[in-house]
Symmetry: C2
Subunit: 349 residues, 2 copies
């Protein structure tokens, strides 16, 4: 397959292998004349350096890995592909590769990282959705493997990360709802071993306090990151003693489920009960009603994360690469003023 090697080129040109290599890599100790000659020949024969050999010789992998979240589910995946696309683009500028690695289970994530680190396959890794304290981060640190995390764990002072300030986003969401007259605001959260879930819950609480509202345990439900789980959580919120007039959700995916729950109670989302999601996923435009959401700048985050990681691999101090973006409210149709008569399930019954 790989017919044209360095050796071949060298023989063809009648010069030494090392010379060809240096010419190709623009070493200063090669005359302009032979450099040109070599490059032309390379072009002519379609020479492409064998990456593997190159890597072994230089010791740099020229590749980074993306650790796929172990338990992904269909609806939340636009997240993954968008990130991947951006990452790939960023790396492509240098001709580096993107490895996608998937641990079979959460338990095996440690092993996966260990293997990744010592096998020399990659020179950096990016992980998503960290837990409050994430053993993956500890491991990466231990192996001195350059990395960046998409999100933050509780202690995030000494590594690189790119995150969106969802805590204040959720405060904003509460503010918005209160300005529409809502007082009983429910919350569908995510499992709080995810740090982002904790932060969003905190934001919700902060927002409540900021508006002089009390925190009511009965108004919050924790659900997995799926539409179905969101629907169940939304349903139990609506069936409670004091059903909320508005519900904020930790993710758009869950919010869509909540929308369904509201409808199945014979209520109208956006009128009888407002709901606000988080993520800003594109398909929220097409739900019924279109989902109001806190949109995070997912657009170029992949590219950004890639660039940051590259900078760290180049020797940058991870601490200098911490970036906090903010989300902003995108109003569609699922939020509205509280009903004067405060129509709720109770009146339905």
């Amino acid at each position: 397959m790989q017919r044209v090697s360095l050796k071949f080129l060298a023989r063809e040109l009648g010069i030494a292998e090392g010379t060809v290599s240096r010419a190709l890599n623009d070493y200063p100790d090669i005359s302009e004349a032979t450099r040109l000659r070599v490059k032309e020949a390379a072009e002519h024969y379609g020479y492409k350096a064998n990456q593997t050999a190159r890597r072994l010789a230089t010791g740099v992998a020229e590749a980074v890995a993306y650790l796929m979240p172990a338990n992904t589910n269909a609806l939340s995946e636009p997240f993954v592909s968008q990130l991947l696309e951006g990452l790939a683009q960023s790396l492509a500028k240098r001709g580096w590769d993107l490895l996608v690695v998937q641990a079979a289970s959460i338990e095996e994530e440690a092993e996966t990282i260990a293997k990744l680190s010592s096998s020399g396959k990659v020179s950096g890794v990016v992980i998503s959705r960290p837990y409050k304290q994430d053993s993956r981060i500890d491991l990466l640190r231990k192996y001195k493997m350059p990395f960046i995390v998409h999100g933050r764990s509780v202690f995030h002072d000494d590594y690189a990360w790119y995150d969106v300030d969802s805590q204040s986003a959720f405060m904003d969401a509460v503010d918005h709802l209160v300005s529409l007259g809502h007082q009983k605001i429910g919350f569908v959260g995510a499992p709080t071993y995810y740090h982002f879930a904790q932060m969003r819950l905190d934001g919700y609480r902060d927002g409540l306090k900021h508006n002089g509202l009390g925190f009511n345990e009965n108004l919050v439900e924790i659900a997995e990151l799926s539409d179905d789980a969101g629907e169940r959580a939304g349903g139990s919120l609506l069936r409670s003693q004091t059903p909320p007039t508005a519900i904020i959700c930790a993710t758009d995916t869950q919010a869509i489920g909540v929308l369904a729950a509201i409808r199945s109670q014979g209520l109208e989302p956006g009128k009888d009960v407002s709901v606000i999601g988080y993520d800003g996923l594109a398909f929220g435009k097409h739900t019924s009603p279109p989902l109001t959401t806190m949109a995070q700048p997912l657009a170029h985050s992949g590219r950004q994360i890639g660039d940051m990681l590259l900078a760290i691999i180049d020797g940058g101090n991870p601490v200098d690469y911490q970036e906090l973006r903010s989300a902003k409210l995108v109003r569609r149709m699922s939020d509205g003023p509280v009903r004067p008569e405060n129509k709720t399930l109770h009146e339905e019954e």
Copy 2:
């Protein structure tokens, strides 16, 4: 980083490097005793073979690449991540890697493949959404690089592919609509340089003919693979002289746009105008109304494709790895019997 090398282990055990290597790789000419001794030591020191060196020595890359479709757009991406996840799982069983490569543009895809092939980075590649005649396929063939395509080009006899019979799926969709009394059935297609687009259009025509219906050029619109494009196409269909009472779309993403177009004409999707999509994407459950669609078995296709590719790399004949699955109708709420009075835009005006 890579502290424990073969050399280190060898010295530690007082035996030759080659012996250690053979012991680790279960060569038959190593005594059970030393094999055990070596493996224990490897375990103890946490030895992980340097992949790069291994690859160089063996000549096998132990990795395959997935060529990202050049122009992906947010809504269609569950497709990509699901595939990736399955692929990664399949490869992980052997400890192989998944490379995600993204060509900067369609023009550069050829260059990307050339580089991929001769750089020895991967031992196989998978591509998606082939064009009618796809130069990527020709190139891969030329370089004798094992590959499998997700979809089919026009001439697909001599390579491996995994596809869903969307042609007959679209016939079925027409049949279904006709059985509901529809006679004027519109079609929102995709650009026909994609072979899948052509096949779906053909299926639509076949269905028409099969039901004794004539093909009317004014009833078909070609649109890009996005919701917005679908909306535009749907709108122009509805505003035509003889608006359809039902619309079939090449993809769910477009169908969602069509739903919006129908609503914006003051019509009710599923009542006034039926629409059927294709793909079976999960979020179709949450559109308004929930989207009726031809669902393809996307679930384990990634894994399946991975397994097939691996078999080919192992020396299997590509021709033996061609798999055609079928899609089936998932009725949700966007289809229904034709309105007796055949209410259309004309009456609205």
